[in-house]
């Protein structure tokens, strides 16, 4: 009885991993065919100053593994700072043609961190990271994609929650961050992977470098 129940539960969990939500309208994205993406330092709507860095440090992986060239995020942040843009808010105000002129990227990725850190609840505390993203074509100014995703530390116990993307990333990245203050870092990584990896139901379409690698 117990075995059967376990198997049944596992089967449901496995199938849930493949579950689909209604697909996004990707007409504009597919027509624009961006190849290179410029990620601006994320807006931080949380009280934790590390949120911007943690998200920016991990955003290249889902985008690049989905087949896009991602402009070097740290170098881009430095260039913007040296040109008088001190905060992500300033940077998000720069006009699309100007960004295109300086960086030559096809599209820009605007991120907002909505939640980052511990949430203390009655039964147990949980570390939650929520992010929103908007991809805008720098050639036309048109919005190509929007999305949002969250991840929580409480998901760590169930490996099926990691999904294929999670397993891939686990194999890819050396986790050196383990101090208590950095507990949100891996959770932020899972949130951005869930948000942007191609192949997930709400993710972005595969980019040209992914197709090139396959053929």
């Amino acid at each position: 009885m117990k075995t059967r129940l376990l198997i049944a539960v596992a089967a449901v969990a496995l199938l849930a991993g493949c579950a689909t939500r209604p697909p996004k309208d990707l007409t504009a994205f597919n027509a624009a065919k961006p190849a290179s993406l410029l990620v601006l330092p994320p807006l931080n709507e949380t009280p934790d100053p590390d949120a911007t860095g943690a998200v920016l440090a991990q955003i290249s992986l889902p985008l690049a593994e989905s087949g896009y060239y991602v402009m070097p995020v740290s170098l881009v942040a430095e260039t913007l700072k040296q040109n008088g843009m001190q905060t992500p808010h300033d940077m998000h105000q720069i006009a699309a043609p100007k960004l295109r002129e300086v960086f030559g990227a096809d599209a820009a990725v605007y991120i907002t961190v909505k939640q980052y850190g511990s949430k203390y609840m009655v039964i147990a505390s949980d570390t939650v990271v929520s992010v929103e993203a908007r991809i805008v074509d720098l050639r036309s100014g048109a919005e190509l994609w929007t999305g949002q995703a969250s991840a929580a530390s409480s998901e760590e116990s169930s490996s099926n929650q990691l999904g294929l993307v999670g397993l891939l990333v686990k194999a890819l990245v050396e986790q050196i961050v383990s101090s208590a203050t950095d507990r949100s870092f891996p959770v932020a990584g899972r949130a951005v992977n869930r948000l942007l990896f191609t192949g997930t139901p709400q993710g972005i379409p595969a980019g040209p470098r992914k197709a090139a690698a396959k053929s």
Binding site: M1, K2, T3, R4, I7, A8, A10, A11, L14, L15, G17, C18, A35, S36, D50, T52, G53, A54, L56, A57, Q58, S60, L61, A64, E65, G67, Y69, V70, M71, P72, V73, S74, L75, V76, A77, E78, T79, V102, F103, G104, A105, L164, V165, L167, L168, A171, L172, V173, E174, Q175, I176, V177, F185, G189, R209, K210, A213
Partner: protein, 131 residues
């Protein structure tokens, strides 16, 4: 606990199909694709840099250079931006030749970066000319 063995036996025929179908259920989700890039320490190095821990720049540079050698040995590809990040760390350390070398490596590996890299190289030249 008593009789648990006796309880399990009659259920076997029904549960067997589930056991047999499990590989197919898993196959439906397919194996993780081979990653395009070798990420290693790139993300954690970015995080340390973005937190403003400039004292760790030298240590970060060394780690990433070792990683790049490993990437080359395995005939893998470094992720987009890693050479650019190294160029930034080297310029913070005052090593402009190494910085330029990595900017050129980023451009060679990823021609999409050409416009930006050329701009940075032109600016670096101007700064060197005025010094």
């Amino acid at each position: 606990m008593e009789g648990s063995g006796a309880m399990r036996a009659p259920n076997l025929p029904q549960s067997r199909w589930l056991v047999y179908s499990l590989p197919f259920l898993l196959a439906a989700c397919a194996a993780p694709p081979k990653p395009l890039y070798q990420w290693g320490n790139y993300q954690s190095s970015l995080y340390v840099h973005l937190k403003g821990e400039d004292a760790k720049a030298q240590e970060n540079v060394e780690k990433l250079e070792v990683q790049l050698q490993e990437t080359e040995r395995l005939k893998n590809v470094p992720p987009p931006g890693l050479h650019g990040h190294l160029a930034l760390l080297y310029s913070k350390l005052g090593k402009s030749a190494d910085s330029r070398r990595h900017l050129e490596a980023e451009r060679l590996r990823f021609p999409e970066s050409a416009a930006y890299v050329d701009l940075l190289l032109r600016n670096a030249q101007k700064i060197e000319a005025t010094n």
